[in-house]
Symmetry: D2
């Protein structure tokens, strides 16, 4: 059929290229699995049929060893290219077994889901790597005091470990979302044919299992027409991208402050400003997260206000957008991982910065409540006044003395109690409750986080074993 | 403090109004729960303290009976308004118990999550209602043949029940996503204070449990700084909106074709074109889903490229966006529910339409394979030629005779076999495999779907019982 | 007609409320203009007709003085409410003149465009106010050196004036976009009727002119069916929001550094951390810009993949989204304006910060080229080494001496030349070319910017005069 | 410098590849233009300098003839690769002339804008081609009656020409937006150096003119830091994509109805359903428009909440997103153009469809007003009743007789007047006012549209001549 050049150039060629690169093994596996089910149909009971089907199975397995040939002018897509290769070897009659009860609709959707599983697993592994790096870095900074900013102002003392463990907890939930999305999409469309299923009694449980799916998508219309799993895949990545955009924001600001230092291979100089040490890896990570967020919209718009049974819109066209979002997100995570593994926090500068902020104000107020029995609002007001007075003489709160407190009509307080209340490290040590930054609490929190990472790693590993196990069974079938 | 008029008019006033309408009981409950934990602290062990705390608890419970007062000029927000009311009754000393180990950060975030639980539960119930309506309508149309469109063309015969059950399956996954999101956000930030927790040994498990949460958010930084749960809430609604945009698309096109008829209360006439019966309820549902998709972006942009510890951006400002998305999505679902419950499919018109399409072509090809042993590609080609020939004489495929088949060099085929192959209803009956539209298969599929709906209803009901149970305990504490 | 409660509650009631608040005068004006054209039709030539039309005109003008009545159960929308009020006074025969050649399609679209003009003008005036504030502040800081950050690192010296003038230039282009959008949408749909125009020879130029439009939208289908103007309105605001998100980002970081100080009425303290001075007005501005960006998506999704002639989707439903985006953007601009007018840059802190950065490195390299004839790459390399050496002894580049240069094998350079090359203020003074920050260049640049603001103010003023002039003519007609 | 593998693989390599493909000539031209300005500086006045600069100019021109070499391990980007090639030929001293007053900031931004001009011009030409195709098709269908749908219902008779001309008008405004965007971005950043300009008196008017810009961006900070032009570029394409999504929606529904027929090269069959003739080209166009809308978000997110002077985020990273949006939009337009040029409306089927709708109801009501003096509401009500009565006996409104009118108590009306009122073609002929579909009005409207297309073509042509003229001057300089 003479395709219009625009259709060929704008649709068929890029789609063929995409399928060659990313979908070929999935096509072959899905066809193998379908063929296995066809081989058990009554119509295929005869010896001749079984022989043909056996030959076809072997031919499909053999095709895995070579790339797809260059697209010929009359070949619209990868599926036809595969079919043509098979027919060249085995003749059309033998190959026609493949087409019993099979439609492009269920075949394509199965293949897309198989590809999406790969993308999710790869994303999941990247998130795991980042989570491990966060926990490693946290373990090295359980005692490193960090003045957390709130509202772009010095807020309260905590530790680098506390902050990084929070980011890990965020990504743990993203991993959980990813595993949820994987489970929901991991059901097989095969056997749904065009949308109403086949009149042949194909064993859909069998094909699902041969491809490593948890089972078939039950309703056959749902199997080919639903695109919710694509929206969920991009939402999961969108969530990770959004969360990481905030982490990058902090790293950039800490890099600017000299609190975090990137290694040489991740900064760039300026051709005109020799003193520059630009944290370009972080900036490029930031843009990748932004683009991952935008790429999600390509998928969402594509499934918007289209008929439920229209398959092109969220079919081949959308696979490129899923791929693009994956490339962006994984690029960002990779850069961030490099920054985290190669860079480090500067404990000295962090401590120096902590010494000049007034962030232990809360603790001083609490101490006045605890040891002097003041009502909290009175203590709060007294501390606020104290800070103002100290500022007038250029002193930080950490330099306050018992006489400063007394001068404002405050209660007598022991010098050690005052010093302890004003020491950021003591502030942190005192916060030893559930989820707080005190070093001993943090160590046990990190141990829990580490277990969570490994549990998630086990889940991902299990998913991968399912897939490789299914592939082995399939080849042997 | 004299707020700048712009800050007052643009921020404080609308936020106060919002809190009055949507957040007040959550504030009071969260304060009650916190107070209960404060009452068990060592600093509150004395009788005087216990008496004050008891009085404060009763005052908080009493405040639930009245709305928030109008905002006074020096009151920035709902929390201060509550505090002022309490102080007017009990004096500042008594009220200051509340502030031990409490920050606006953990209090606000707790309150927002409590509100989000309500929104999710309400959305979940709407989805359930729609799913039930889909299954009810499906049950009434198990035998109603529908020519499913693919690529905007008549595709294959199936049934109205099969289609509606597929839509229900889609929404079942959205319900599952919603329950997943609920579970993930249902952990309590209280006790995290500003972000580092408190130096007082507050029982965070207790406060979480008193507010119906599954437990505390462990890491206290995570507790106040993470906005991932908001992104997940809008993603869940985004998914439902996207899926429903496709359902509406079909309903509109079937309404145009006369296959689906809306009741009078949901159509509008035209002032200038008296014959119009505009399916306005469906059109307005469509826009509401579009706006729900856009509203998600308000939330995502708000959490993008901001520091992790910045709480305003995804705090009060974003609550309005969550609310707005809820209003849009729930408006659309409500309209759709009305259309589905009040409208109906016209079996006669559907049958008439089915009779003139050539959508049983696949089946005829299959029949030629089954009964005459043709290779599928040959059968497929023969049927394609047959359709063209029939079209030349103005006939539909359903009118083909055995001699038409013979005339193209096709095999002999029994007239009944031909008739059966060409009958859309027979086509459907033959598709009795897993998830297919054959009436008996469909009946059992619907029974399964119905169970799934009721299981999800049970989950939602359980969540609601958790909340009301916690409220009862809290009041009694 | 008994509307379905969902349709009434979800669509008719909120739309009626919206029309009451925002659209009533536009409806009345559009009806007046249409009536004027009807009065010139041959069918209205008789004295009786003229008398009736005159009475109707007066009744319409009178309605402007009162709000729309509360919605009655059988009234779907504002247009019917107006018609009913007129009929109650004048009887249906007289009122029916209004309906000649008029459809809800052209009437509504006209009204929406009239409302959009108001929103654009209000946005335009806000942008003007902000631009003036930027130029005022710039004029006060022509000599205030600012170390511009690039890549989150100290980049080069420039001035506060230079930076603020750049932001103003950005907003000048947004104003230009806004005026372009205004011009493109300022064409009148009236007379297009349902979409094909009327068979009555209505004078469309007349109605357009009476409503202050530049002329009619020519093609009548285009007049009622096109929603591109809505997408353009939200794109213009999207551009401003995006640009301002970057400005806010800088202001927040300068506030954190103490370089910019907000007035008391625009910061908030912390209930638990008395030392906090949170730049909340800026943070809330940031979220408003984020929400304005998201609100744009509500409009875009609403017009996506819908038939060209479907008017509900981008009709009443979308007006709320336009309004919502306006509220968000204008809230953000208003807060920013307050920050800029009430806050100020701290020249002392800026100078202190400038003194310790190495940002004049470029200039030193240039000086070595200019006065010692070095090749630029050699000069660049020498300066880079110099900075490293100085850092090893804890000195900033500004403290370099001629012997430091010599020690690295560099050329002899006069002490004054060195000092001048290393002085940030001298750096700035030397950049006196087109668009550079040198004070005298800046003064003339600001004069040009000021003229541009006033020219744009004149354009907006002209647009407003057109509207008020048209209103006067209309009332008198 | 040993780049980190992640930075190399995720950033430097893809960026280098992108620059090789899309940016190389722009880099060379911009460097040539800058060099020309350097050549006129006082520091370059000597003969030796002039000779070196002349050689450098020739070397730059020569580089245009070959592609960029493969990226070497120590070469970060295209600019360094160019510099290295020049240095290999001419030595570093000669090449260092290039670096006087030049920064990557102004060079890159200039190059990006030059690329954006190309994308805009290419998009503009595609829109022109589509507009011409719309007008050509319209000219062939001035008399072809089309029943326009409103609210998914038959609305009113108009013509195919009227509809297509409306779509062209929509795209005419998009072209206008594109030209506006071009004008606004067509100002040159060169000479802004890092952001503060250079201390060398570079002639920025000259470089701007040599590169075909209308002039320099005045403020040098604005020149390198503003990304508004990128947001505008994607907004323009977003507008076109949104508008065209609506056009595609109609074409798809008309294809389904058999009113519009695609040529063979643009439809695809089904492997399982031989009767299918899927309008795949239109469906793929639809997705491309959806993806163009999503791609806009990649650009917008990238510029969101980043410092004004951060150049990476909207620099190299965003160029790929601009390119991607261009590919999507241009793919969709190309497919649509092929559909429009190769496909056609089926006048016979359109006429048959028109005959059975009741869409002339309005006209009948108008006729009763005109010829029988009824009040419009009475006429409207009578026609509505008449339609209901006719439907009860299975007749369309077109079959109404004068006695049907009389039977409802309606006025006497001449049979010819009735027939004429009910004839869709007569309905159309009567709508001969400004912008209406009557054939003679339409012919003159199309002539105007044609002129507008040619005027816009002239503008685009002028822009292209500016660029090629500048290139010629530059080579000769």
């Amino acid at each position: 059929m003479p395709w219009h050049p625009s259709y060929r150039g704008r649709v068929l060629e890029p789609d063929y290229l995409f399928a060659s690169r990313h979908l070929l093994p999935h096509f072959l596996h899905a066809l193998c699995a379908h063929l296995t089910a066809v081989g058990r149909l009554p119509v295929a009971a005869g010896d001749g049929a079984q022989a043909e089907i056996g030959a076809l199975h072997r031919a499909l397995v053999a095709l895995e060893r070579a790339p797809l040939p260059a697209q010929e002018p009359d070949v619209p897509d990868a599926y036809f290219a595969i079919q043509r290769e098979l027919e060249a070897n085995l003749g059309p009659h033998t190959v026609s077994w493949l087409r019993i009860g099979l439609s492009r609709n269920d075949l394509d959707m199965t293949v897309y889901k198989m590809r999406a599983r790969e993308l999710l697993l790869a994303t999941g592994e990247q998130l795991l790597a980042l989570r491990r790096a966060l926990l490693d870095k946290a373990a090295a900074h359980v005692d490193t005091v960090l003045i957390a900013q709130t509202h772009h102002q010095p807020g309260q003392p905590t530790t680098v470990a506390h902050y990084l463990a929070a980011v890990e907890a965020l990504l743990a939930r993203d991993t959980e979302r990813l595993l949820g999305a994987y489970g929901r999409l991991n059901r097989c469309p095969l056997g749904a044919a065009a949308l109403a299923g086949s009149s042949h009694p194909l064993d859909r449980e069998l094909t699902a299992s041969l491809l490593g799916f948890e089972g078939p998508v039950e309703n056959t219309y749902d199997a080919v027409a639903s695109s919710d799993w694509e929206a969920e895949v991009v939402s999961v990545s969108q969530s990770a991208a959004l969360n990481l955009s905030r982490f990058v924001c902090d790293l950039l600001s800490w890099t600017a402050a000299g609190w975090f230092r990137l290694p040489d291979g991740l900064v760039q100089g300026s051709s005109i400003m020799p003193q520059k040490r630009n944290p370009v890896a972080l900036e490029h990570a930031r843009t990748r997260f932004s683009r991952a967020l935008g790429a999600a919209q390509m998928v969402l718009y594509s499934s918007h206000n289209i008929p439920y049974a229209d398959l092109n819109d969220f079919g081949p066209d959308v696979q490129g957008a899923l791929q693009m979002q994956y490339v962006q997100l994984s690029g960002g995570v990779d850069l961030l991982l490099a920054c985290l593994q190669g860079g480090d926090f500067d404990a000295g500068r962090l401590a120096a910065a902590a010494a000049v902020t007034d962030t232990t104000a809360t603790e001083l107020a609490d101490e006045l409540v605890r040891s002097a029995g003041m009502a909290f609002p009175d203590a709060h007001a007294l501390v606020a006044t104290l800070i103002v007075r100290l500022q007038e003489t250029g002193r930080a709160l950490a330099q306050a003395s018992v006489s400063d407190v007394r001068a404002l009509g405050g209660p007598e307080i022991a010098p050690e109690a005052l010093a302890s209340a004003l020491d950021p490290a003591a502030f942190v040590r005192r916060r030893a409750g559930l989820g707080g930054p005190a070093p001993e609490a943090m160590v046990s929190q990190l141990a829990g986080s580490r277990q969570r990472v490994e549990r998630d790693a086990g889940s991902l590993e299990g998913r991968k074993r399912e897939l490789s196990g299914a592939r082995d069974t399939l080849r042997a079938s």
